[in-house]
Symmetry: C2
Subunit: 218 residues, 2 copies
Amino acid sequence: MNCQMQPKEIVKVPEPTLRRLPWYLSNVKLLKKKGERYVSSTQISKEINIDASQIAKDLSYVNISGRTRVGYEVDTLITVLENFLGFTNIHKAFLFGVGSLGGALLRDSGLTQFGLEIVAGFDINPALVGTTINGIPIYHTDEFEKKMQEYDVNIGVLTVPIEIAQRITDVMISGGIKAVWNFTPFRIRVPENIVVQNTSLYAHLAVMFNRLNFNNIK
Amino acid sequence: MNCQMQPKEIVKVPEPTLRRLPWYLSNVKLLKKKGERYVSSTQISKEINIDASQIAKDLSYVNISGRTRVGYEVDTLITVLENFLGFTNIHKAFLFGVGSLGGALLRDSGLTQFGLEIVAGFDINPALVGTTINGIPIYHTDEFEKKMQEYDVNIGVLTVPIEIAQRITDVMISGGIKAVWNFTPFRIRVPENIVVQNTSLYAHLAVMFNRLNFNNIK
């Protein structure tokens, strides 16, 4: 055995760690394609410009230990990271608001590769209700609670206009949704036990435009 | 006049501020729809659960000042924030890698509303080159430098497989791209004067899955 896996207590992994782990994963995947069998945190560090000690600390949350002077076994590290990050389990989700961004996400089959399967969309637009996008059915929002009985879903993807972002969030949660992936630029409020991830493409655009502008002027 | 606008020196606005400003914007837009004419940082604070002093500090980067006891004029605040965030100017972009996510982003016309217009896609897939998606032409990656002469573009959207993420980034930059919006889970390296925004949907998924899991077990 090149590594030991021990079950660990459930600890709340810091969010910055969880955001860095996929970087290590993609880097290690690349090393595998190049034919490498072992990788050390120093090696990863050189590739992606993060302190080796930080990488080792981040990887300490994952149930894997490396061998001195040899490092982590590449295949095992990939498997363990993918499991740890939840990419190997399929998590089913409903999407709310089949507008431009919502429709685009329904068409992005790539999410399944990382463990998210959007199994239905909800909207009130009569031109959309009853149709499918990329094979995914679109139901009227009124049917949501009924569909919660049919599908084993606990994630809701929020891509509605800001005016109804809070209302639809409340509907989702009262229907049993446990995690909201919020793509709107609106800061939704949820009870303490509900998970929220904000992915505001617009906030990222704002940062990018500002930095571009700053570089142009300075 | 309900507010004064003075030109300010160019200061590098902190990224957390830039990420919060779109929240204030969407909140103020909502207040406008409800018929409000003035808004204070205390009011915004109550709605979105961020300290009023933080909001006032964030807004101090923007060229707007409120009136004592009355607050900011809603219309002016919206206009000033939209300008400040760069949402009112159109920034043209090329997209690299018309796979599942890349194709989805080409179809998301909503980005234009926030100042980003993807004017062309690049790929090497012969089934895609020469076609259009949502009216946007797709060219062979080899044509990129030539197309840089034709279009006034300085932003590149990166949606390629991780194996070529760094190589395509290098190609983009040597062709004149000044900002890379990186959707891959790969940590790309760029010269100091190049802007990078990372939007890793997969990292967000990892955080969400972990939190869901944690809530289920605890």
